[in-house]
Symmetry: C2
Subunit: 131 residues, 2 copies
DNA sequence: ATTTTACTGATAAATATTATCATTTTAGAA
DNA sequence: TTCTAAAATGATAATATTTATCAGTAAAAT
């Protein structure tokens, strides 16, 4: 797991390891604040700058996905494989969908636009929020 | 067109008409700031509060879609019919795709989650940005 | 061990959005 | 029309999220 950082050309610091540890296998799609608050327990001097620096660096190098389904804030997803999301508009929970959907733009559109990723978001109400 | 407001149970004001006029048929997916700056030309006293109030009211009543594909800010879409989006990660332009894709969650998932909308976003590089 | 490079974290700042509220305007009733 | 209730405007303040700055520090390369 720490190798992931090295392979991405990032320096290994205890703070970053703590962030990576929090993210690893985390399917809750945490916000920067969620991450900050958790890592703060181990590093009382942790600052938001470090959280954002690390997330930005990871995202840029492809070690993390930024999820934009929540209109209020960015959410982060350590699952970098192809997958999609359920988003509950009431509780704001995001859940991975690992099913693959066969989606394809027309050849004409693909000539004009290099598709790098396809994000499918199902917006709705989760079971808990249905009461 | 003004009827759209009335039907939604909103009061007709000159400011709102200007916002609606700017949005009507607008395929650029403007931000609140884009809208504010345009309407300001006709209403020098226009405030952001009015823009946000109007957008929120319209969105809540279904007369407007909030697009969350741009991580930096909310974008607004007067096209309320089912459609999807191309998003250029370089110039941040958003383009409508009116093609329909046959996407369906498994019956099992649909039991646990009431799907209200499906958003498909193609992230990539548009023709202009390819140089 | 030393140097280079990059990270941390305190802080400030920028940006986006929401809240408050006195004044004004709309829409419908009288 | 005029009056009235309800709702909108806009000035302003406040909050939230994210980015920028930079001196001190720590990690990795030499």
């Amino acid at each position: 797991m720490p190798e992931q950082y090295r392979q991405l050309g990032m320096k290994l610091t205890p703070q970053r390891l703590a962030i990576l540890h929090y993210l690893s296998g985390n399917g809750t799609h945490p916000s920067a604040e969620n991450i900050y608050k958790d890592v703060l327990k181990q590093f009382p001097t942790m600052s938001f700058a470090t959280v954002y620096n690390t997330l930005d660096a990871l995202a840029e190098k492809g070690g993390l996905k930024v999820v934009t389904v929540d209109p209020d804030k960015k959410r982060y997803d350590p699952n970098t494989g192809p997958h999609h999301h359920l988003y509950c508009i009431k509780c704001k929970n995001i859940v991975d969908i690992n099913k693959e959907f066969k989606i394809r733009l027309s050849d004409e559109m693909r000539r004009d636009f290099d598709v790098l990723a396809v994000c499918i978001e199902f917006h709705g109400i989760c079971r808990k929020c249905k009461k």
